[in-house]
């Protein structure tokens, strides 16, 4: 018995040595291993390979399984966090900074003579900059414009429009592109809008906002927002250039294309669609589709919805200096050219979006409209966020209300009033549960900065 225990113990110790030896080391053959948690977009691999080629002493790998914000924070607190991670909106950035894991690189960049503010598109700044300090560099920048189905335009004898132009100028063009077949049903529509994705753009273009400037109040019930959503309704019912929800459903099943917006547009029954350049990732695989692009129309304010993603550096990473190389890489020409080439939206650096490689990419000679996408970035903004409201909850409420307008069950005014009421109620509940949040809320109201 005693011997058995002894031998077992020795055996276990031997296994332990083996296990310990097999633990991957951070530095192998002089190369430092860095991890980046991000989504598993196929374009990432090309971006990472290029980085590794340019930095032979570093080996960056993607970890797609642990990219949840909560997971990143907890794992970082436990000392096993990634070196690089992504921030998708200002609230995420705030959470990362507050929990102490985002590295403030403002001074590091200054030392290298880089002023991020002058280098990247405005639309990307909320994801990387907080209270004047910079925590990372953006991975890409996106802004909405109007995709045009060139074949349908040619067939109707309508030239591809050039902006800037307003919605009232758009209507007659859209009407020319809306075709009703002999049975009385539409074989073609002037425009395809993604109600739940595009409503905020319409509101902003009418001068309305989702929240007051400091997020204390939801302002969807303002006359501007109501008018904007009413216009979306008018596109369907008054001007009849866009499909209703059920007509859209019919097109989806009939064409066999599936009901996603991109798929619907690919189906070829829509002359235009509001969308981003990243649609090309899917649309490039459709050779039958001939595309053009033009500026999206606006109403009173020329603004388009856009998005971006920033890559932040883990403050507690033992290799954060090396990770900084990745941020610098995101500002470099090879990286930006790659993003532009991959159509992973567009590169974050302004000047490289003017490069000849972008304007005329030899691999995609038909894509002669990239200046439209670049110019759209000048007017692009991110969706509004309030520190007093969970964006996921807000999205659930606005999606539900917008869908009711789309299906005709509510008028724009009713839906917007209901949405604002629900969101404001949520906000009040959130502050009542969190004393620190309530203090901040009261302070802003007192100082007249709602």
């Amino acid at each position: 018995m005693k011997q058995f225990i002894l031998y077992t113990f020795l055996g276990l110790m031997a296994l332990t040595v083996v296990a310990w030896a097999l633990i991957p080391r951070r530095v192998v053959d002089g190369k430092v291993a860095l991890t980046w948690t991000s989504d598993d977009n196929p374009a990432r691999r090309g971006q990472i390979t290029l980085f590794n080629q340019e930095h032979p002493k570093l080996k960056l790998t993607l970890d797609p399984d642990n990219s949840d914000m909560e997971k990143v924070i907890v794992q970082s607190i436990a000392g096993v966090g990634p070196d690089l991670f992504d921030s998708y909106d200002p609230l995420q950035l705030t959470a990362y900074v507050k929990s102490g894991i985002a590295w403030d690189i403002t001074d590091e960049l200054k030392k290298r003579g880089i002023d991020v503010n002058k280098t990247v598109w405005d639309v990307t700044k909320p994801d990387i900059e907080l209270d004047g300090r910079v925590y990372g560099c953006p991975t890409n920048a996106s802004g909405n414009a109007l995709w045009c189905n060139k074949d349908l335009f040619d067939k109707a004898g309508v030239p591809i429009p050039k902006g800037p132009w307003q919605w009232r100028q758009f209507i007659p063009v859209a009407k020319k592109l809306t075709v009703i077949d002999p049975t009385g049903r539409n074989s073609q529509y002037g425009i395809l809008i993604d109600w739940t994705g595009d409503w905020e753009q319409f509101c902003r273009q009418w001068g309305g906002h989702l929240y007051s400037p400091n997020g204390t109040k939801c302002t969807l019930d303002s006359p501007q927002c109501v008018a904007a959503v009413q216009f979306m309704s008018d596109l369907v019912n008054k001007y009849k250039v866009a499909p209703s929800a059920s007509e859209q459903e019919t097109m989806a099943t009939a064409g066999g294309w599936g009901s996603g917006t991109i798929s619907l547009f690919e189906g070829g029954h829509f002359a235009t669609a509001i969308g981003g350049r990243w649609w090309l990732c899917t649309m490039r695989t459709e050779p039958s589709l001939h595309l053009a692009a033009c500026e999206c129309p606006y109403q009173d304010v020329q603004v388009y919805m856009g998005g971006a993603k920033g890559t932040l550096i883990n403050k507690n990473s033992p290799y954060r200096e090396q990770a900084l190389d990745f941020s610098l890489y995101e500002l470099s020409k090879p990286y930006n050219d790659l993003i532009n080439h991959q159509a992973d939206a567009m590169g974050p650096v302004i000047k490289y979006c003017y490069s000849p490689e972008f304007m005329h990419d030899p691999s995609y000679p038909d894509e002669i409209y990239n200046d439209v996408w670049r110019d759209a970035l000048k007017y692009s903004v991110q969706g509004q966020i309030s520190p007093y409201m969970n964006p996921v909850e807000q999205n659930l409420i606005t999606t539900a209300e917008i869908q009711l307008v789309e299906s005709g069950d509510k008028t724009a005014a009713e839906a917007m009033h209901d949405a604002a009421a629900k969101i404001n109620a949520e906000i009040q509940q959130n502050i009542s549960r969190d004393p620190a949040l309530k203090a901040r809320y009261d302070r802003e109201i007192e100082q007249g900065r709602p």
Partner: protein, 275 residues
Amino acid sequence: MASTPKKRTFAALNHTFLFVMSLTFLAPFLWMVLASFKPLTEVEQLNPWPKHWMPQNYAEVFRQVPFAKYYFNSVFIAAWTTFLQVVTSAMAAFAFARLKWPGRDTVFKLYLGTMMIPGVVTMIPNYAIMVKMHLLDSYLGLIVPASFTAFGTFLLRQFMLTIPPALDEAAAIDGARPWTVFVDVILPLARPGLITLAILSFMGNYGSFFWPLILIKSQYLRTLPIGMLFFDSTYGRETNLIMAASVMNIIPMIILFVSTQKYLVSGIQLGAVKG
């Protein structure tokens, strides 16, 4: 009673019945094994028998994921945990079963009481401890917290109580100290209990899912259950490979059971009945 023809027929019928029943009951296993030898296109067909036999599926599993590492991790962690559990439980059980000390029965009731508490209750604070001590995503974190259960102490105490005290008294008269009594008298007699605990413990830790799921972040630490989980979702529907992996996952357990079932069965029955 002699075996009459009627009895033999009855026995034969009985056997046939049992055989057919067990075959039906084990049909999923059969399907799994057969599917593991099929090429992907055949998996979806009704006929369970492969038209083309592909034993190379098994090698392919090792090529697609670090399956050998998963095996190693599962066995390594389960072995250490089992070892620590058995050793510490045996020592504690001896203290409860043989030694008299103030508060002994109260403390034992405490042990019993905690066995009633759902596992999730302690998972959350244990996780927090791992985070604060920077033991997340580490072998230590996987082994140490799982090495202490009240169940092992309980089971071994019951076993030890069945050993006649006369034996230790004899040893005590010879002037033996408690440790000697423990090692030379009790442990050898408690072997069935120790083996039962070892098997149950190993089996439990080999298939442990919740704790590795929340603790493991890096690929190199993955145990078989976690590896199987991510094998299924990352590589999509390569069902034949997944079945091969499942078979390899299960085989050690089958071997373990078949070779030790005598101890296991009597151990479970003894432990439950006495409890």
